[in-house]
């Protein structure tokens, strides 16, 4: 695996982040420009086409179908989507982390994508810990793994609910939202915040968290989730809408969207936190919305297994790797792996680059939706678990 998955510029030089390795390599601009993901990583999603009777049709930026602000310019001559421009910066999102002390930086990072806040705060904390060569105790690792997986369960349940809503399965949708709410309330009770804000800190956790209650509720929620999934997978109405919708063949996308094309790539395979888990990614081969749905719904059950194993298991202490090379850490957020490049100095962040999964998945969505009809937009969109907030400017 040496697929380039991100790049950034620093001091006039360009660096590439690759899959399967934390080592960052220098790269020439010309090589970079020929990359398939050159534009998406820069936040550019222009695919304008023209032709006889072709006209651009706006969906969004403020529309009932989306929960975030995004403008899709659909090129069409009626019903069929020929191509799609995505304008993510209709609402300008800017976050500045450089220049902030560590703790403040973590607080800001938690608010980058609230639904995946624990993943991002863990990513930043862990990267700072690496830079400071800090040792993290086994209890912290255990709690972080459990909460990461809880966040994944919550996120995947929400994604399933959104997909159900798009496919007019309203009962399933509201049931799923209720399940998510139940789990989030338990999380709020045990951690102090429903989105797990303010838990991570450099070198550990800010307070001691008893995960037993969360694990117990998660077990009940997931068993109910299974009943809903069993119902959905035999519903012709639901399956017909997502099967063969937005088929993606590319290999550049991240997370469940990538694993739905048959590629068994999950950052947890390389994540030292999961080294004692014997982790095997879930994958499907269809590449369509149905395959993505099957992947993330199976991941909910897999996450529960991880949680249950983690709550009983014994973790080793997590120690930083000594390396002088520039390196890029990563974490498997519920939407896919996020990669970070960080530099610190004088107790504050001096450089930060973040490649989020949505940056690449959005491009995959634009590619897959071609040739589909307009009514497919919501089913396709919700199956990717895309977050516009992850596409803002973060420095």
């Amino acid at each position: 695996m040496n697929n380039i998955t991100g790049f950034f510029e620093k001091d006039g030089k360009f660096y590439a982040i690759k899959d399967g390795t934390e080592i960052i390599e220098e790269i020439s601009l010309s090589e970079l420009e020929s990359l398939r993901i050159y534009n998406p990583v820069r936040g550019v999603y222009n695919h304008g086409v023209s032709g006889e009777n072709v006209f651009p049709f706006n969906y969004g930026p403020s529309t009932g179908g989306m929960i975030e602000t995004v403008d899709f310019k659909i090129y069409t001559y009626g019903e069929r989507i020929l191509s799609l421009d995505i304008i993510t910066d209709f609402k300008n999102r800017n976050m500045k982390i450089t220049g902030h002390p560590y703790q403040e930086a973590i607080l800001i990072m938690e608010r980058f994508n609230g639904f995946h806040s624990f993943s991002y705060s863990t990513l930043l904390s862990r990267e700072i810990e690496q830079k400071l060569s800090m040792q993290v105790d086994r209890e912290t690792v255990k709690t972080r793994v459990i909460l990461l997986e809880i966040e994944r369960i919550i996120s995947h349940i929400f994604k399933t609910a959104r997909l159900c809503e798009a496919a007019s399965q309203n009962i399933a949708s509201y049931w799923l939202l209720a399940l998510r709410e139940r789990l989030m309330r338990t999380v709020a009770q045990e951690t102090g915040h429903r989105y797990m804000f303010g838990i991570n800190t450099v070198g550990g956790l800010r307070r001691k968290i008893d995960c037993n209650k969360i694990v117990e509720v998660a077990g009940k929620v997931v068993s109910e989730y299974k009943a809903i999934i069993d119902g959905l997978t035999v519903s012709r109405i639901f399956i017909d809408r997502i099967e063969n919708t937005c088929k993606v063949d590319g290999q550049f996308q991240r997370g469940p969207a990538l694993r739905a094309t048959g590629t068994q790539y999950d950052y947890r395979q390389f994540d030292p936190y999961y080294s004692s888990m014997d982790f095997k990614p879930v994958s499907e081969t269809g590449g369509d919305s149905l395959s993505r749905f099957l992947v993330f719904s199976s991941e909910v059950f897999q996450s529960l297994e991880i949680i249950q194993k983690a709550s009983k298991g014994v973790f080793g202490e997590y120690k930083a790797i000594d390396s002088n090379q520039m390196r890029s850490g990563g974490i498997e957020t519920p939407s896919g792996d996020a990669r970070i490049a960080l530099e610190i100095g004088d107790g504050e962040i001096t450089f930060l680059y973040l490649r989020t999964p949505s940056m690449l998945n959005m491009e995959a969505y634009a590619e897959g939706i071609r040739g589909n009809v307009k009514t497919d937009i919501p089913f396709a969109y919700e199956s990717f678990g895309l977050w516009i907030c992850e596409m803002g400017c973060i420095k």
Binding site: V49, S50, N53, V54, F55, N58, G60, Y77, G78, E79
Partner: protein, 620 residues
């Protein structure tokens, strides 16, 4: 005397056209109005024109052609009014329009098959000249028109020869008892109506030949009506045949459905109504089939009801179609997505809307009454004790209903995009007056619906071979006579329709609503997701859903060149005909090179074989 005058008057417009086209049009308006009034008087029985004959020159105005004279005269009136306002200076055009109209009228008045055939051919040739007289016209559309026109003439020629052999007379109205000959004659007429799979007869000369609008109106509204006249005339006078009726119903149902499907996807402002004519022709052929069957089943009331359906449908179609073709000349550009029409006066727009709604087949407008009569006839037939008939009626009824349903988005698209307001409209004002006249005529079919129904039903009762006089107007359900139209069944009433009450209800409800809503109107700017309104959905996009759903019917193909896209749809029957023509051309080339290659031995062999075949045929 009147009859001779009726015959001669249209021809008189020809010399006038050589001096002044305006004069010729005005003269045309005069005699077509005269014809219309006369036909009404004749239908109501206040006078009779009878027939006139010197040797083989025999003309008549009695029976069926009286009604068709009314229908066609009004179409001609609209053609003349349109031409007077739209292109009053073109003498050549005035001449060819006059010639075509004179031929059409002569066919209608013909009393025997020789005269009929002669003027039928003259109509085809004048139609050919009307399409092809302009220098810029492409050569193949007039060619297609004349070749299919000749195909029709050949069938008619063979059929009429058979008619003469079978009945021993050349005069129209003899009882033909050979179903094969009848079928050949009917096919000869049906080819002219552009039935599936020969629908290109209808659309090609109109759409691709840049046929002038008067030509389009005459081909689409008058000639198809004339062909219907031929079919009904022969069905009515011949011995009825059940199977023939079934065949006509099936042909009609397919034409109706395919016509309406292709009409919706058409993006040419003239091709769309031309396809719609294929659809309407299909409906009328179904009615002709029903006529044959109900005659065979010896049910005079149903025969009269189906006849009423034919008359009302033909009337509504011919008049509304004329109006729609007038509307099509709102812009010189024929491509709907890029058309910049509009510029119509409000009344002109109302006129256009009335015609468009009528062609959608919506009550209470004329087309809706026609559609109701068609569907009612099919529904009544579907409860027939004859299982085969019932099944064919149900299937045709379903296809007719589907076709009629598709006609709604077709004409919504047509009217909506053709009259869409643009910054720089073209020529709308020139057609406003003809639109108002045609709109008023169409509206008369609704407001005066009982009068038309009365007149037609009354007249149907006087027709030979039809049966008793049944006037399908009633005073049931508290509705005052004669505002209720009913459909008959053995046990009594089958269905009811009251166009004047419907229109009254719509007008009253609209008036009350507008009064109640007065002053409460609230205008808001269009919400486009927070952006300024930029995109404009075009007519192509409007119909594209059906193109995607019926991909296999349209053979739609997406073509992509880099970042440029376009989607093409094809008329599968047209492709087949082109392929056949290519195959035939190749075959005749090979045949020519092999047998007619200048080799004397071959020619001698050829002559001997031909002689032998002729001898065999003579002996047989």
């Amino acid at each position: 005397m009147i009859l001779i005058l009726l015959f001669i008057l249209p021809f008189l417009s020809l010399p006038i056209a050589l001096f002044s086209s305006r004069m010729s049009y005005c003269f045309g308006i005069f005699f077509s109005s005269l014809n219309s009034i006369l036909s009404v008087i004749l239908m109501l029985g206040y006078a009779s024109a009878g027939s006139f004959a010197i040797g083989n020159f025999s003309i008549m105005l009695k029976g069926l052609n009286v009604t068709f004279l009314l229908i066609i005269s009004v179409v001609e009136l609209l053609v003349y009014i349109f031409s007077l306002f739209y292109m009053p200076e073109d003498k050549k055009l005035a001449f060819f329009v006059g010639l075509t109209i004179a031929s059409i009228n002569s066919v209608l008045l013909s009393g025997n098959v020789i005269l009929f055939l002669m003027f039928w051919e003259s109509m085809t040739i004048s139609g050919y000249l009307l399409i092809g007289f302009k220098d810029e016209t492409k050569s193949y559309p007039p060619f297609v028109f004349i070749s299919f026109g000749e195909l029709s003439t050949i069938f008619l020629m063979v059929g009429f020869a058979g008619y003469y052999v079978s009945t021993g007379t050349l005069a129209l109205g003899a009882s033909l008892n050979n179903p094969y000959i009848l079928m050949i004659i009917i096919l000869g007429f049906a080819f002219k109506m552009g039935i599936v799979p020969l629908q290109m007869v209808e659309w090609l000369p109109i759409a691709h030949g840049n046929s002038p609008t008067p030509g389009s109106i005459l081909f689409s509204a008058a000639m198809t009506t004339l062909a219907l006249y031929g079919i009904v005339e022969f069905i009515l006078t011949s011995v009825p045949y059940f199977v023939l009726g079934l065949i006509l119903m099936i042909i009609g149902a397919f034409s109706l459905l395919f016509g309406s499907i292709f009409a919706l996807s058409s993006e040419n402002s003239k091709m769309l109504p031309a396809y719609s004519t294929v659809e309407n022709s299909g409906a009328m052929i179904i009615l002709a089939g029903l006529l044959s069957i109900w005659r065979e089943m010896n049910d005079p009331i149903m025969v009269a009801f189906v006849m009423l359906g034919i008359f009302v449908y033909a009337t509504a179609h011919a008049w509304a179609k004329s109006s729609i073709f007038i509307l099509s000349s709102i812009s010189d550009n024929n491509n709907l997505p890029t058309m910049r029409g509009s510029g119509l006066t409000p009344f002109g727009r109302v006129g256009a809307a009335i015609s468009a709604i009528s062609l959608m087949g919506l009550v209470p407008l004329g087309g809706g009454i026609g559609e109701w009569l068609l569907l009612e006839s099919l529904f009544i037939s579907s409860v027939s004790s004859n299982l085969v008939f019932a099944v064919v009626a149900i299937v045709s009824g379903a296809m007719a209903a589907l076709g009629a349903g598709i006609a709604i988005p077709t004409f919504t698209k047509y009217f909506g995009f053709i009259t869409k307001k643009h910054g720089n409209p073209e020529s709308g004002h020139r057609i406003s007056t003809p639109m108002k006249v045609s709109g008023a005529i169409m509206l008369s079919l609704t407001v005066l619906a009982p009068a038309y129904v009365y007149m037609y039903s009354y007249f149907i009762g006087t027709l030979k071979n039809v049966g008793g006089r049944t006037i399908f107007l009633s005073n049931l359900k508290g509705i005052i006579y004669p505002f209720l139209l009913y459909s008959p069944q053995k046990q009594g009433f089958f269905g009811l329709l009251s166009p004047p009450f419907d229109i009254l209800f719509i007008v009253v409800a609209a008036a009350i609503l507008s009064l109640l809503a007065k002053g409460k109107e609230r205008k808001i700017t269009v919400w486009n997701g927070g952006l300024g309104q930029t995109e404009e959905v075009n007519s192509f996009a409007y119909a594209n859903t059906l193109r995607i759903i019926l991909k296999k019917v349209y053979l739609s193909k997406e073509e992509r060149e880099g970042t440029r896209y376009q989607e093409r749809t094809f008329d599968i029957f047209w492709i087949i005909i082109i392929d056949l023509a290519k195959l035939y051309s190749r075959f005749s080339g090979k045949f020519g090179r092999f047998f007619m290659n200048g080799n004397i031995n071959r020619y001698v062999q050829y002559i001997i074989i031909a002689l032998f075949i002729v001898l065999v045929m003579v002996i047989l």
